[in-house]
Amino acid sequence: MGYRFPSREWAEEYCRLLDSSQRYRSSGRGWKYPILFKVADTNQGFTLYLEDGRCLGVEWYDDASSADAPVIISASLDEWVEVISGRINPLTAIMRRRLKIEKGDISLILRYSIAALEMVHVAQKLGLGSSGEGGGG
């Protein structure tokens, strides 16, 4: 592996892994919305085109400040590292406003909480790259 988070390569590999996860396939069934993930302190971000438990594609932004998607989740790099490494549950992070839902419907996200957990699980498999954290999963 060894892709660094956040990067275009990481996002593309993440989408591929997500698309091949059986658990994400079943828990994400019914979800129809692309999600834009933003790293607040570097302004980078990527949109995952998620549909019915699949990841159909990814778009990377060196500058995501004017990018748009039906759901936008933003956090500092440190917070993303906490979530991806599994030190904080993503839904707890949302409830404690450490992950900020800039756009989209939290109650809908909570209805896909198992899918959200599976997304983190897949991210853990990919790891965080040269920052040396994460892995496992």
Partner: protein
């Protein structure tokens, strides 16, 4: 770190009418909408209470809340409140009435919002509106007088229970008059009382639990084990009723500041399919969920803490597990320990529902903070065992 939310004021006293008078005068409110259901509105004490309120404010009434209200109730309450120029909505009833009033408040202060958009940090505008929500619970169960949640039933292609929530919907005041729950039929007192137990035990092991929610959960669990059996046996003292009443509110505060879990996630779709009272269904599923969640070391250690407390402090006989204590409580209050003992469905019919209910439970927001992340097969297993 956590964010916590509570009602601003709680009156725990034997005269809801007096408490309302005090509250409205304190706040200079001279016009209110009282929301209730047809059963409550026919009671003598309700009429007496209205007389008290009328001595300080103009009172309009909305008495049409049905059991298991649907989304449409919100518009009815909002337009009644608007017409009355109400500065407070006073919900007098069980969880359904209080939830209906919450949804009405949303539509009153923000007519354009769809109830589906109500979410924890979505700004609804309640706090800036100056309209107060006051809850006077008549059952000791839902905890809705202290909680941020709304459960409504959606009646498009079948019945589906939808749980919504926002911190702005925690009532401003909760008025706990322990005389009121005594008017409940015995079966409802048991069902709602066991819902209190389910709220406390789910809040206790939720991954969002914290010292404040733990304290509230643990005391509420103790109060249920101490006081519900006497109420169920028909020999409840004033103290038993009062303690169950405050326990329900404490459990509501606990889960609002922690979370619920798998028992509620299963109970919402299952109760809607079978048409069985929420407290009854959630209680029946609960011991199986405790057993399942015990694979989480954190949850298990909290369950053991409760088990030890029951045995060492309340003098309960030693039992193998917490779920055994819960089942013993059920036997003591005459509540079924299996779904087959609840009237209504044949085994065949039930087996046909399992997969569909498991799928819906997986989509229920209450599952988000359960200590163990279940698969759809795990939930189906629990459902089969619980029958």
């Amino acid at each position: 770190m956590v964010e916590l939310g509570f009602p601003r004021r709680i009156f725990f006293r034997e005269d809801a009418g007096e408490a309302l008078k005090m509250l409205l005068s304190d706040r200079g409110i001279d016009s209110v909408l009282v929301v209730t259901d047809p059963v409550v509105s026919s009671m003598h004490w309700f009429k007496d209470m209205l007389e008290s309120v009328k001595s300080v404010a103009r009172v309009s009434l909305y008495t049409g809340v049905e059991p298991e209200p649907g989304f449409e109730v919100a518009d009815g309450i909002a337009s009644a409140a608007r017409e009355a120029g109400a500065r407070a909505i006073i919900a007098v009833g069980g969880g359904s009435v209080i939830d209906a009033a919450k949804s009405g408040l949303v539509k009153l202060v923000n007519p354009k919002i769809s109830l589906d958009q109500v979410a924890p940090f979505t700004s609804i505008g309640v706090e800036g509106s100056g309209v107060l929500l006051v809850a006077v619970p008549t059952t000791s169960g839902s905890g809705s007088d202290a909680s941020y949640g709304i459960v409504l039933t959606r009646r498009v292609d079948g019945r589906e229970k939808v749980a919504l929530g926002s911190y702005e919907l925690i009532p401003y005041a909760s008025i706990l008059d322990p005389r009121l729950p005594k008017f409940m039929p015995r079966r409802l007192a048991i069902g709602t009382g066991l819902d209190v137990l389910a709220h406390s035990l789910e809040a206790l092991v939720s991954i969002n639990s914290n010292p404040v929610s733990d304290a509230l959960s643990l005391k509420a669990i103790e109060l249920v084990f101490r006081h519900l059996p006497r109420i169920a046996g028909g020999e409840g003292s004033d103290d038993d009723w009062a303690m169950m009443h405050i326990a329900a509110t404490m459990a509501g505060m606990a889960f609002t500041n922690s979370g619920l879990g798998l028992a509620h996630a299963i109970a919402h779709p299952l109760g809607a399919r079978l048409g069985i009272h929420h407290g009854t269904i959630v209680a029946t599923v609960l011991p199986y969920v405790i057993e399942y969640n015990s694979r989480s070391p954190e949850a298990l250690s909290k369950y053991r803490y409760v088990k030890d407390f029951l045995e060492k402090m309340l003098g309960a006989p030693e039992r193998g597990s917490l779920e055994d204590h819960v089942r013993a409580l059920y036997r003591g209050v005459g509540h079924p320990v299996r779904l087959r003992d609840l009237a209504g469905v044949s085994e065949e019919e039930y087996r046909g529902l399992v997969d569909e209910v498991a799928e819906s439970a997986l989509r229920d927001p209450d599952i988000a903070f359960n200590p163990v992340v279940p698969t759809v097969d795990d939930i189906a297993d629990i459902l089969r065992k619980a029958y």
